[in-house]
Protein backbone atom coordinates (compact mmCIF):
# COMPACT_ATOMS: atom_id res chain seq x y z
CA UNK A 1 0.00 0.00 0.00
CA UNK A 2 1.36 3.36 -0.99
CA UNK A 3 1.23 5.94 1.79
CA UNK A 4 -1.47 8.58 1.45
CA UNK A 5 1.07 11.38 1.45
CA UNK A 6 3.08 9.71 -1.27
CA UNK A 7 -0.06 9.27 -3.33
CA UNK A 8 -0.85 12.96 -2.97
CA UNK A 9 2.66 13.90 -4.03
CA UNK A 10 2.51 11.65 -7.03
CA UNK A 11 -0.77 13.14 -7.97
CA UNK A 12 0.39 16.74 -7.90
CA UNK A 13 4.14 16.88 -8.45
CA UNK A 14 5.13 17.07 -12.09
CA UNK A 15 6.81 14.01 -13.45
CA UNK A 16 8.56 15.71 -16.33
CA UNK A 17 10.31 18.14 -13.99
CA UNK A 18 13.64 17.47 -12.38
CA UNK A 19 13.73 16.75 -8.64
CA UNK A 20 15.06 17.57 -6.17
CA UNK A 21 13.87 21.09 -6.85
CA UNK A 22 16.17 24.13 -7.24
CA UNK A 23 15.78 25.54 -3.76
CA UNK A 24 18.54 25.52 -1.15
CA UNK A 25 18.66 22.69 1.37
CA UNK A 26 16.07 23.47 4.01
CA UNK A 27 14.44 26.35 2.14
CA UNK A 28 10.93 26.95 3.41
CA UNK A 29 9.49 27.30 -0.09
CA UNK A 30 9.43 23.52 -0.35
CA UNK A 31 7.38 23.38 2.84
CA UNK A 32 4.94 25.90 1.38
CA UNK A 33 4.64 23.79 -1.72
CA UNK A 34 3.71 20.79 0.42
CA UNK A 35 1.15 22.80 2.32
CA UNK A 36 -0.38 24.13 -0.87
CA UNK A 37 -0.69 20.65 -2.34
CA UNK A 38 -2.43 19.35 0.75
CA UNK A 39 -4.78 22.32 0.86
CA UNK A 40 -5.77 21.83 -2.76
CA UNK A 41 -6.14 18.11 -2.34
CA UNK A 42 -8.24 18.64 0.75
CA UNK A 43 -10.59 20.90 -1.16
CA UNK A 44 -10.84 18.33 -3.93
CA UNK A 45 -10.25 20.86 -6.69
CA UNK A 46 -9.83 19.53 -10.22
CA UNK A 47 -6.29 19.95 -11.51
CA UNK A 48 -7.59 21.04 -14.89
CA UNK A 49 -9.45 23.96 -13.39
CA UNK A 50 -6.61 25.20 -11.28
CA UNK A 51 -4.20 27.86 -12.43
CA UNK A 52 -1.09 28.59 -10.43
CA UNK A 53 0.78 31.71 -11.46
CA UNK A 54 3.92 33.24 -10.03
CA UNK A 55 6.33 36.08 -10.53
CA UNK A 56 10.11 35.92 -10.56
CA UNK A 57 12.28 34.94 -7.63
CA UNK A 58 13.01 31.73 -5.73
CA UNK A 59 9.31 31.61 -4.92
CA UNK A 60 8.53 32.13 -8.59
CA UNK A 61 9.96 28.71 -9.35
CA UNK A 62 7.22 26.97 -7.38
CA UNK A 63 4.53 26.47 -10.04
CA UNK A 64 6.88 24.59 -12.38
CA UNK A 65 6.86 21.65 -9.96
CA UNK A 66 3.14 21.04 -9.80
CA UNK A 67 0.84 19.55 -12.37
CA UNK A 68 -1.69 22.35 -12.80
CA UNK A 69 -2.04 25.00 -15.45
CA UNK A 70 1.05 26.88 -14.40
CA UNK A 71 2.48 30.24 -15.33
CA UNK A 72 5.78 31.85 -14.46
CA UNK A 73 5.32 35.49 -15.41
CA UNK A 74 7.51 38.57 -15.09
CA UNK A 75 8.83 40.02 -11.86
CA UNK A 76 6.06 41.64 -9.85
CA UNK A 77 3.35 41.21 -12.45
CA UNK A 78 1.88 37.82 -11.61
CA UNK A 79 -1.37 39.30 -10.31
CA UNK A 80 -1.99 41.12 -13.57
CA UNK A 81 -1.74 37.92 -15.57
CA UNK A 82 -3.94 36.19 -13.01
CA UNK A 83 -6.48 38.99 -13.36
CA UNK A 84 -6.66 38.36 -17.09
CA UNK A 85 -7.03 34.62 -16.64
CA UNK A 86 -9.75 34.90 -14.02
CA UNK A 87 -11.77 37.51 -15.89
CA UNK A 88 -11.49 35.63 -19.15
CA UNK A 89 -12.56 32.34 -17.57
CA UNK A 90 -14.17 32.84 -14.15
CA UNK A 91 -14.67 29.11 -13.72
CA UNK A 92 -10.94 28.63 -13.14
CA UNK A 93 -9.47 28.71 -9.64
CA UNK A 94 -6.59 31.14 -9.92
CA UNK A 95 -3.83 31.09 -7.31
CA UNK A 96 -0.87 33.44 -7.38
CA UNK A 97 2.40 32.75 -5.59
CA UNK A 98 4.72 35.67 -5.00
CA UNK A 99 7.83 36.54 -3.06
CA UNK A 100 7.85 39.53 -0.75
CA UNK A 101 9.87 41.57 -3.23
CA UNK A 102 7.78 40.35 -6.08
CA UNK A 103 4.49 41.20 -4.36
CA UNK A 104 5.34 44.37 -2.49
CA UNK A 105 8.38 45.97 -4.14
CA UNK A 106 8.02 45.92 -7.91
CA UNK A 107 4.55 44.42 -7.68
CA UNK A 108 3.19 46.55 -4.85
CA UNK A 109 0.82 48.49 -7.01
CA UNK A 110 -0.80 45.47 -8.62
CA UNK A 111 -1.19 44.00 -5.18
CA UNK A 112 -3.10 46.91 -3.67
CA UNK A 113 -5.21 47.34 -6.78
CA UNK A 114 -6.14 43.67 -6.94
CA UNK A 115 -7.23 43.99 -3.31
CA UNK A 116 -9.17 47.16 -4.05
CA UNK A 117 -11.03 45.52 -6.93
CA UNK A 118 -11.68 42.48 -4.75
CA UNK A 119 -10.85 40.20 -7.62
CA UNK A 120 -11.67 36.61 -6.88
CA UNK A 121 -8.04 35.54 -6.63
CA UNK A 122 -5.88 33.89 -3.99
CA UNK A 123 -2.53 35.55 -3.36
CA UNK A 124 0.07 33.47 -1.55
CA UNK A 125 2.97 35.63 -0.48
CA UNK A 126 6.09 33.82 0.56
CA UNK A 127 7.71 36.35 2.81
CA UNK A 128 11.37 35.56 3.47
CA UNK A 129 12.09 39.24 4.16
CA UNK A 130 14.79 39.41 1.50
CA UNK A 131 15.50 39.07 -2.21
CA UNK A 132 16.55 35.45 -2.26
CA UNK A 133 17.17 34.77 -5.89
CA UNK A 134 19.27 37.83 -6.67
CA UNK A 135 21.55 37.42 -3.70
CA UNK A 136 20.20 38.93 -0.52
CA UNK A 137 19.37 42.56 -1.21
CA UNK A 138 16.82 44.18 1.10
CA UNK A 139 13.14 43.96 0.31
CA UNK A 140 10.21 46.07 1.55
CA UNK A 141 9.75 43.57 4.38
CA UNK A 142 13.35 43.45 5.55
CA UNK A 143 13.32 44.48 9.21
CA UNK A 144 14.72 47.83 10.26
CA UNK A 145 18.28 47.43 11.49
CA UNK A 146 19.03 44.10 9.86
CA UNK A 147 21.70 43.37 7.29
CA UNK A 148 21.53 42.67 3.60
CA UNK A 149 23.90 42.95 0.68
CA UNK A 150 22.58 46.43 -0.10
CA UNK A 151 22.39 47.63 3.50
CA UNK A 152 25.89 46.80 4.65
CA UNK A 153 25.68 49.37 7.45
CA UNK A 154 22.30 48.19 8.70
CA UNK A 155 18.90 48.69 7.13
CA UNK A 156 17.25 52.07 7.67
CA UNK A 157 13.90 51.51 5.99
CA UNK A 158 10.78 50.35 7.76
CA UNK A 159 9.07 47.19 6.68
CA UNK A 160 5.60 47.04 5.19
CA UNK A 161 3.04 44.98 6.99
CA UNK A 162 1.79 43.03 3.99
CA UNK A 163 -1.35 42.08 5.83
CA UNK A 164 -2.20 45.66 6.83
CA UNK A 165 -1.68 46.84 3.28
CA UNK A 166 -4.02 44.16 2.02
CA UNK A 167 -6.69 45.04 4.56
CA UNK A 168 -6.48 48.79 3.92
CA UNK A 169 -6.66 48.20 0.21
CA UNK A 170 -9.81 46.14 0.45
CA UNK A 171 -8.97 42.43 0.50
CA UNK A 172 -11.75 40.11 1.69
CA UNK A 173 -9.57 37.60 3.47
CA UNK A 174 -6.14 38.12 4.97
CA UNK A 175 -4.17 35.55 6.93
CA UNK A 176 -0.62 35.01 8.09
CA UNK A 177 1.17 31.72 8.71
CA UNK A 178 4.68 30.34 8.93
CA UNK A 179 6.53 27.33 7.59
CA UNK A 180 6.95 26.14 11.13
CA UNK A 181 3.21 26.05 11.84
CA UNK A 182 2.37 23.74 9.00
CA UNK A 183 -0.96 22.13 9.86
CA UNK A 184 -2.36 25.59 10.51
CA UNK A 185 -0.86 26.78 7.28
CA UNK A 186 -2.69 24.10 5.33
CA UNK A 187 -5.93 25.42 6.78
CA UNK A 188 -5.16 29.09 6.21
CA UNK A 189 -4.41 28.40 2.57
CA UNK A 190 -7.41 26.20 2.13
CA UNK A 191 -9.73 28.87 3.54
CA UNK A 192 -8.14 31.47 1.34
CA UNK A 193 -8.79 29.42 -1.76
CA UNK A 194 -12.38 28.85 -0.77
CA UNK A 195 -13.01 32.53 -0.19
CA UNK A 196 -14.92 34.51 -2.79
CA UNK A 197 -13.09 37.78 -3.34
CA UNK A 198 -9.45 38.68 -2.94
CA UNK A 199 -7.67 36.58 -0.35
CA UNK A 200 -4.11 36.96 0.86
CA UNK A 201 -2.05 34.43 2.75
CA UNK A 202 1.28 35.80 3.92
CA UNK A 203 3.69 33.02 4.81
CA UNK A 204 6.77 33.76 6.87
CA UNK A 205 9.54 31.63 5.44
CA UNK A 206 13.19 31.01 6.08
CA UNK A 207 15.79 32.18 3.62
CA UNK A 208 18.74 31.26 5.78
CA UNK A 209 21.02 31.44 2.74
CA UNK A 210 20.48 35.10 2.02
CA UNK A 211 18.75 36.55 5.03
CA UNK A 212 19.62 34.25 7.92
CA UNK A 213 23.30 34.03 7.09
CA UNK A 214 23.72 37.79 7.39
CA UNK A 215 21.54 38.03 10.48
CA UNK A 216 22.88 35.36 12.79
CA UNK A 217 20.50 32.63 11.70
CA UNK A 218 22.49 30.80 9.13
CA UNK A 219 20.63 27.50 9.06
CA UNK A 220 16.99 26.53 8.51
CA UNK A 221 16.58 25.05 11.95
CA UNK A 222 17.52 28.28 13.73
CA UNK A 223 15.14 30.24 11.57
CA UNK A 224 12.27 27.86 12.09
CA UNK A 225 12.83 28.06 15.81
CA UNK A 226 12.68 31.80 15.52
CA UNK A 227 9.28 31.55 13.87
CA UNK A 228 8.17 29.19 16.60
CA UNK A 229 9.26 31.62 19.28
CA UNK A 230 8.00 34.85 17.78
CA UNK A 231 4.63 33.91 16.33
CA UNK A 232 1.51 34.31 18.42
CA UNK A 233 -1.95 33.33 17.27
CA UNK A 234 -4.42 36.14 16.69
CA UNK A 235 -6.55 34.88 19.54
CA UNK A 236 -3.64 34.83 21.91
CA UNK A 237 -2.41 38.18 20.64
CA UNK A 238 -5.70 39.78 21.60
CA UNK A 239 -5.07 38.84 25.19
CA UNK A 240 -1.52 40.17 25.23
CA UNK A 241 -0.30 43.61 26.25
CA UNK A 242 1.61 45.79 23.79
CA UNK A 243 4.83 45.13 25.70
CA UNK A 244 4.32 41.40 25.54
CA UNK A 245 3.63 41.71 21.82
CA UNK A 246 6.79 43.62 21.12
CA UNK A 247 8.97 41.81 18.59
CA UNK A 248 6.26 39.21 18.01
CA UNK A 249 4.02 38.79 15.02
CA UNK A 250 0.56 37.37 14.86
CA UNK A 251 -0.54 34.39 12.83
CA UNK A 252 -3.96 33.15 11.89
CA UNK A 253 -6.86 34.82 10.12
CA UNK A 254 -6.54 38.58 10.33
CA UNK A 255 -9.53 39.63 8.25
CA UNK A 256 -12.44 37.77 6.78
CA UNK A 257 -15.26 39.86 5.41
CA UNK A 258 -17.96 39.29 2.84
CA UNK A 259 -18.50 41.55 -0.12
CA UNK A 260 -19.30 40.90 -3.76
CA UNK A 261 -16.27 39.96 -5.82
CA UNK A 262 -15.31 41.67 -9.04
CA UNK A 263 -16.48 38.73 -11.13
CA UNK A 264 -19.96 39.00 -9.65
CA UNK A 265 -20.04 42.73 -10.16
CA UNK A 266 -18.92 42.47 -13.74
CA UNK A 267 -21.65 40.00 -14.51
CA UNK A 268 -24.09 42.72 -13.48
CA UNK A 269 -22.45 45.06 -15.96
CA UNK A 270 -22.97 42.53 -18.71
CA UNK A 271 -26.60 42.17 -17.78
CA UNK A 272 -27.06 45.92 -17.83
CA UNK A 273 -25.22 46.23 -21.12
CA UNK A 274 -27.42 43.67 -22.75
CA UNK A 275 -30.42 45.56 -21.44
CA UNK A 276 -28.64 48.61 -22.95
CA UNK A 277 -28.83 50.71 -19.83
CA UNK A 278 -25.87 52.90 -20.64
CA UNK A 279 -25.85 55.16 -17.64
CA UNK A 280 -23.72 58.05 -18.86
Amino acid sequence: MIAEITRIRHKYLRHDKKFPHVWCPGCGIGIVLGSLIRAIDGLGLAKNDLVLASGIGCSGRLPAYVDFNTLHTTHGRALTFSTGIKLANPSLNVLTVMGDGDATAIGGNHFIHAARRNLNLTAIIINNQIYGMTGGQYSPTTPYGSNSTTSPYGHIEHAFSIADLAVTSGASYVARGTVYHVPALDKLISRGIEKEGFSVIEIMTNCHTQYGRRNEMSDPVTMMKWFKDHAVTTTRAKKMSPEELKGKFSIGVLTDIDKPSYTEEYQKIRDRAKGREVKS
Binding site: E4, P183, A184, D219, P220, T233
Partner: protein, 107 residues
Amino acid sequence: MTPEEETVRNSSSTEVQDEYWEKKLEMEKKGKKLFKQQIFLDWCKGCGICVAFCPRKVYEMDEMGSPVIVRPDDCIGCRFCELHCPDFAITIIKRYPDRRRRKSDGS
Protein backbone atom coordinates in the same frame (compact mmCIF):
# COMPACT_ATOMS: atom_id res chain seq x y z
CA MET B 1 -6.49 9.09 5.04
CA THR B 2 -4.65 7.85 8.07
CA PRO B 3 -6.01 8.74 11.51
CA GLU B 4 -2.93 10.83 12.12
CA GLU B 5 -3.49 12.85 9.01
CA GLU B 6 -7.06 13.28 9.98
CA THR B 7 -6.06 14.61 13.34
CA VAL B 8 -3.79 17.10 11.69
CA ARG B 9 -6.18 18.11 8.99
CA ASN B 10 -9.34 18.34 11.01
CA SER B 11 -7.92 20.39 13.80
CA SER B 12 -10.97 22.41 14.56
CA SER B 13 -9.63 25.94 14.09
CA THR B 14 -6.93 27.75 12.22
CA GLU B 15 -5.34 28.27 15.56
CA VAL B 16 -1.80 27.13 15.46
CA GLN B 17 -0.86 24.01 17.28
CA ASP B 18 2.62 24.88 18.30
CA GLU B 19 2.97 21.77 20.33
CA TYR B 20 0.77 19.37 18.50
CA TRP B 21 3.21 16.55 18.89
CA GLU B 22 3.09 16.98 22.63
CA LYS B 23 -0.50 15.95 22.46
CA LYS B 24 0.65 13.03 20.40
CA LEU B 25 3.08 12.15 23.15
CA GLU B 26 0.18 11.90 25.51
CA MET B 27 -1.82 9.83 23.05
CA GLU B 28 1.07 7.56 22.82
CA LYS B 29 0.96 6.82 26.49
CA LYS B 30 -2.50 5.45 26.02
CA GLY B 31 -1.61 2.83 23.43
CA LYS B 32 1.61 2.29 21.59
CA LYS B 33 1.42 2.46 17.76
CA LEU B 34 4.26 1.70 15.39
CA PHE B 35 5.33 3.80 12.39
CA LYS B 36 7.70 3.34 9.55
CA GLN B 37 9.82 6.22 8.24
CA GLN B 38 10.86 6.28 4.61
CA ILE B 39 13.56 8.68 3.43
CA PHE B 40 14.05 9.16 -0.33
CA LEU B 41 17.71 9.98 -0.26
CA ASP B 42 17.70 10.99 -3.92
CA TRP B 43 15.61 14.01 -3.00
CA CYS B 44 16.98 14.71 0.48
CA LYS B 45 19.38 17.63 0.62
CA GLY B 46 20.46 17.06 4.18
CA CYS B 47 19.01 20.23 5.62
CA GLY B 48 18.63 18.69 9.06
CA ILE B 49 15.08 19.83 9.78
CA CYS B 50 13.85 16.32 10.46
CA VAL B 51 16.80 15.61 12.68
CA ALA B 52 16.42 18.80 14.67
CA PHE B 53 12.70 18.78 15.28
CA CYS B 54 11.71 15.14 15.69
CA PRO B 55 10.40 15.03 19.26
CA ARG B 56 11.67 11.48 19.70
CA LYS B 57 15.07 11.89 18.05
CA VAL B 58 14.28 9.21 15.51
CA TYR B 59 16.86 10.62 13.07
CA GLU B 60 20.53 11.43 13.23
CA MET B 61 22.89 12.94 10.69
CA ASP B 62 25.53 10.68 9.21
CA GLU B 63 29.01 11.91 8.44
CA MET B 64 28.11 12.59 4.80
CA GLY B 65 25.34 14.91 5.91
CA SER B 66 22.40 12.61 5.31
CA PRO B 67 19.75 11.74 7.87
CA VAL B 68 19.65 8.17 9.04
CA ILE B 69 16.85 6.48 10.91
CA VAL B 70 18.31 5.45 14.22
CA ARG B 71 15.31 4.98 16.50
CA PRO B 72 12.46 3.90 14.20
CA ASP B 73 10.35 2.40 16.91
CA ASP B 74 10.35 5.56 19.00
CA CYS B 75 8.35 7.33 16.34
CA ILE B 76 4.95 8.50 17.55
CA GLY B 77 3.65 9.30 14.06
CA CYS B 78 3.33 13.01 14.68
CA ARG B 79 4.41 13.59 11.05
CA PHE B 80 6.26 16.76 11.87
CA CYS B 81 9.14 15.51 9.76
CA GLU B 82 6.90 14.56 6.86
CA LEU B 83 5.13 17.92 6.86
CA HIS B 84 8.29 19.97 7.23
CA CYS B 85 10.68 18.21 4.92
CA PRO B 86 11.07 20.83 2.18
CA ASP B 87 12.06 18.17 -0.32
CA PHE B 88 9.22 15.68 0.02
CA ALA B 89 11.82 13.16 1.07
CA ILE B 90 10.06 11.67 4.08
CA THR B 91 7.01 9.47 4.32
CA ILE B 92 5.60 8.14 7.54
CA ILE B 93 3.49 5.01 7.29
CA LYS B 94 1.68 3.08 9.95
CA ARG B 95 3.40 -0.11 10.67
CA TYR B 96 1.50 -3.29 11.36
CA PRO B 97 3.79 -5.43 13.48
CA ASP B 98 1.75 -8.51 12.66
CA ARG B 99 1.75 -8.04 8.89
CA ARG B 100 5.32 -7.67 7.71
CA ARG B 101 4.78 -8.71 4.10
CA ARG B 102 5.09 -5.21 2.71
CA LYS B 103 8.89 -5.24 2.99
CA SER B 104 9.35 -4.28 -0.65
CA ASP B 105 8.05 -0.82 0.21
CA GLY B 106 11.56 0.35 0.96
CA SER B 107 13.06 1.94 4.06
